[in-house]
Subunit: 359 residues, 2 copies
């Protein structure tokens, strides 16, 4: 990882830590450890102090850490993470209060409390709020993750034929992603026909029929960054009702995307999509209209009716309205969008020409 | 999910709750929610009281919950999980103290604390300790997950030819798993040559060469249950040193497996494997010798030098010693084993005949 990028991030994080008078933060969330150190492994924590960033890792990851984390001090732990933190804090004589991320488990927090001889506090979303605005290299990575998703989906379309199971189609898509040098950003959802009414359907043995519909919700991880798209297809001519629902969902997505701009209220974007569906007398979806994405598949900001706050330039969000009618159908369309000062930029444009398939 | 199975589990969990005088447990860990309710979705919590088990889920999962959870009371939440818990607890007038799992994040714990008008406590490993001993249907699922892993690996061997990349081989293996109707239990590790010295290497663009070695660490999830195996192969005749290391690792694994029996000290099993490697003057691995597996890929018990406690009948554990020499090689052999009263039973036997490949 480019050490200048890391330094810039740490500077932004330290600014927030200073505002909150925090001089020692224990970073336990894997994506936050990656963001602050460049390390892409597991079971490791970072510690940010006024002068340094430490990575606490173990023998399994030491080679990888030396390769990835040129700008931080690597400590090879043999003890538990909590004990390794305690040892480090003991050395850092100026540290009287240690702050832990609120995403930490109670068990880890209590273990740190037991080992560390310092006051303990917790704080939420320090690194997450810095992470929400992406720099150009992050946007580029998400865009590439989107392009790979589009390519993989294109190469999978020829397998979208009657007889294939949801599981096989999901497997073939995942294989194309691997062949393109990337991995999944989450477990691929493939749902045929009425199975799509469950937004988080797990692919199963159901076979694609002659007149059938397909919903695919999947994403790619590239250089640690996620894309997340949903596309719907019909095998043979879709029913008039399916086509109507599809058009409404597409209009709902367009309405929300049109609203996007730095400074716009998040719940206004959410409401714009819901309004289109509601006015079409179709059931309004129960999930959020979208979410931030980056190192995590779901991160700040979350686009919901109850969301407070405004969109910020540099945020990358999904817009994914849907219509779900149990036993009948499910339609969702999802793209990844960069928030800019003047509006927005579709990062998954190259996927968007994949229309409702009628073959 | 068979409601008799769920009832038996709840009975065992209630016994432990009674011992600790807990009459209301908030279950937040996904695997524990699955274990107590049968629900296989996300973003849902369970609440166990004296008389009932509740599942708090949202509109995305309501259809799935109705299908999967016949033995519990399903509550469709529109609020946050913490607020949904608060509403429920308010109705349960006999509940004065609410206990939360220690695996819960500080943020969730604090949200529950803010909403729930009752005393709050935390507890660790109540459900995990029940989960560690598997019933026959769980053992059968893990065994099938092992069989599918063996079949998938067998079908992938023909792609193990010079020119294939780590990424492609991982993708092909994952595709075979999907074709067999299952999914990965974790991200497949494929490491060629010296890349295998990093126990958690992420597959990349490196191509397999004429004289090369392959380490594959992967697993299958079947009916929610995980298998986890590691196999090593050589393309062409391996070097004498590689062969020696391989033999030592195999002997280390055999030594540990021989020790396994209900009532045996966990750290004795760990020590048995390390001793063989140490006495061969090879570097002793820094990771644990194994771990429990079931609904989670890593669960109780953990086999480490510092582990306390004894093995129990019904536990399913991995035994996975390795030798890692940075820049040179990495060898690890891993199988899944059921602990019995009289010894052990290899659940991945059908994978074990996959020898060091020399083709």
């Amino acid at each position: 990882m480019d050490s200048r990028v890391i330094k810039k991030r740490i500077k932004a994080i330290r600014r927030r830590l200073n505002e909150k008078k925090i001089n020692c933060l224990i970073v336990t969330k894997p994506a936050n450890v990656t963001y602050t150190t460049g390390f892409s492994g597991d079971d490791s924590w970072a510690v940010i102090t006024k002068g340094r960033v430490y990575l606490l890792t173990d023998s399994r990851y030491i080679e990888q850490a030396q390769k990835e984390c040129s700008s931080c001090t690597i400590i090879q732990r043999t003890d538990s993470l909590a004990k390794a933190v305690a040892k480090l804090v003991k050395k850092l004589k100026s540290v009287r209060t240690v702050t832990v991320e609120k995403s930490t488990s109670l068990a880890d927090f209590e273990a740190v409390k037991k080992s560390v001889k310092a006051r303990l506090k917790s704080v939420a979303n320090i690194i997450e709020s810095v992470r929400s605005s992406k720099d150009s290299s992050e946007v580029a990575a998400i865009k590439t993750a989107g392009s790979i998703a589009a390519q993989a989906l294109k190469q999978t379309r020829r397998y979208m034929k009657p007889g294939v199971t949801e599981n096989e189609l999901a497997g073939m898509l995942d294989f194309q992603i691997r062949k393109l040098g990337a991995t999944n950003s989450f477990d691929t959802i493939v749902a045929f026909g009425p199975n799509a009414s469950r937004p988080h359907h797990q692919p199963g043995k159901r076979k694609l029929k002659q007149k059938d519909t397909v919903l695919i919700d999947f994403g790619v991880k590239y250089k640690g960054y996620c894309s997340d798209i949903t596309r719907c297809f019909a095998v043979g001519r879709p029913t008039t009702f399916y086509k109507k629902v599809y058009d409404v969902v597409q209009q709902a997505q367009t309405a929300a995307i049109k609203k996007i701009k730095a400074g716009v209220k998040i719940n206004d974007v959410d409401a714009a999509a819901r309004k289109v569906i509601d006015e079409s007398d179709l059931p309004v979806y129960g999930h959020g209209t979208g979410h931030g994405l980056g190192l995590e598949i779901h991160e700040l900001p979350f686009l919901k009716a109850e969301s407070k706050g405004k969109l910020k330039a540099g945020e990358v969000i999904t817009i994914e309205p849907g219509v779900y009618i149990p036993g009948k159908l499910g339609v969702r369309i999802e793209d990844d969008i960069l928030v800019t000062e003047t509006g927005s930029k579709l990062l998954t444009r190259n996927c968007s020409h994949l229309p409702l398939l009628t073959n």
